[in-house]
Amino acid sequence: MNPHSRPKIAIEDLLRVKRAERPPAEFWTRFEQELRAKQLAAIVERRPWWQGAAQLAGGLARLRLPLGLTAAVAVAVFSVSEYRRSTPAAPENVSAAVVATMTGTELASDSSSAHPAPATMASAAEVTEAAVTAPPLPVSNVRPGEISRVISMLGVEARQDEARRDATPSARLIAANLALVQMNDSGLPASLAANRGFETRGLPAAHVNDTEPLAEISSPRYRSSARYLTTALPAGYVFETAAARPVATVRHVNDRQLRDDNVSRVGVDNGGVFLKL
């Protein structure tokens, strides 16, 4: 046979042979019986819960765009509201507000003469905390005399025990500083302005307060730490040891005491040097 007379056979022609692979007619009878049985079984059989969930998800898939947009808007609104709630009301000038409050209170207390009314004003610790967290007060906003008023207000309690504190060297030093500040009060804002980085704030009450230092800690975090410290320290321990203990005057200090670094405080008083061991 002439090879040139042979018909071409391409891959598509070969695949037509595959098309001719068919099951016999009797196969379909059996196929139909099996299909009926499976249909009945599928009707009787309870469908698992996740198929229902999948159907529901399939139904919701049509609404995915509006649902997604709604969810995005809800999340955005919730985030913004939470952010606004968590952000503190930004005061224009907390320090100024503190100063104004305290000076006003002082004026009120001055007007009521002998009764300073400490219950009406914020506690010294709270004021201190607010002053620390507040932005710096522009020096130009501070009037001469206000700082000394603040200091004197913070020291309201301290004045009550003034006589007792005078007995200690540190108390005398603090009193001298207070007096100096009050004397130079008019020139203080200018000097503060010249000193970059220094923030014009009310001095914390701890400088003149007579109470236990740990008790003055205002932050809840530090308050709990102070409570633990208090329980950890031996009973009857007094922090202000310098004020509580009588100052003993000694003429000779043991070399060993100096060498072992037992000196806790060094000061100059009445033309002499005193050491606290």
Partner: protein, 212 residues
């Protein structure tokens, strides 16, 4: 929504296809209305075509029978969700092809051929077989056809699942590129690319049987 309108949107369908889609849609509506027996018409209409597709994907008649039955049951259970967005046969094919792909992925390492008889009376196949066996003695004719069938199946099984599916739907079932793309949820370009690659591989495998 009218199925023919949907078909016209997505596919460049022939008038015969549109008529077929309309007829299917009316039957589907009857089934959705509660006429369960009407679904049998759809089974009888599509069972052989669906069987041919799945059989050429799996090369195993028992698996094929199970998969086609499962596809019809799934379609029956979900018939109320069919909204006529596409032609019914496309939807049914998608169910069946996805079931077959899942089955083939699960049993990738377990392949047993279980082949049907080649119906040599069918015209295109008969012409090809006669052209191939014109030099062969009549006694060896049956053996040659059997060998050709096995070689064809081996070559098909060497294709990846997706390439095999595309070549089956296009060359054996005669679907268009658009229809295959809709069934396989891919682009027409992907279908053409897979078809071209699959044909190249098959040509390399079946070179002894080709004549230029």
């Amino acid at each position: 929504m009218n199925a023919s309108k949907a078909l016209g949107k997505t596919l460049v369908a022939s008038p015969e296809r549109q008529q077929e889609a309309d007829a299917d849609w009316s039957v589907v509506q009857r089934v959705q209305a509660g006429d369960v027996a009407a679904f049998d018409q759809l089974i009888v209409k599509y069972r052989e075509r669906l069987y041919g597709v799945i059989y050429n994907m799996t090369s195993n008649r028992e698996d094929t029978a199970d998969l086609v039955q499962d596809a019809f049951i799934k379609a029956f259970q979900s018939i109320n969700r069919f909204a006529g967005q596409s032609a019914f046969f496309t939807w049914l094919y998608r169910i069946a092809v996805n079931s077959a792909l899942t089955h083939l992925r699960k049993s990738r390492l377990r392949t047993f051929f279980s082949l049907e008889q080649v119906n040599e009376d069918e015209r295109p196949a008969a012409e090809v077989i006669s052209a191939l066996t014109d030099d062969t003695a009549a006694a060896d004719h049956g053996a040659f056809v059997k060998e050709l069938q096995e070689k064809l199946n081996e070559a098909m099984m060497k294709l990846s699942i997706k390439h095999r599916t595309v070549i089956t739907l296009f060359e054996i079932d005669g679907l268009s590129h658009d229809e295959i793309a809709e069934i396989m949820s891919c682009s027409v370009g992907t279908v053409r690319s897979r078809l071209h690659y699959a044909k190249q591989l098959l040509q390399a495998e079946l070179q002894p049987y080709l004549r230029k």
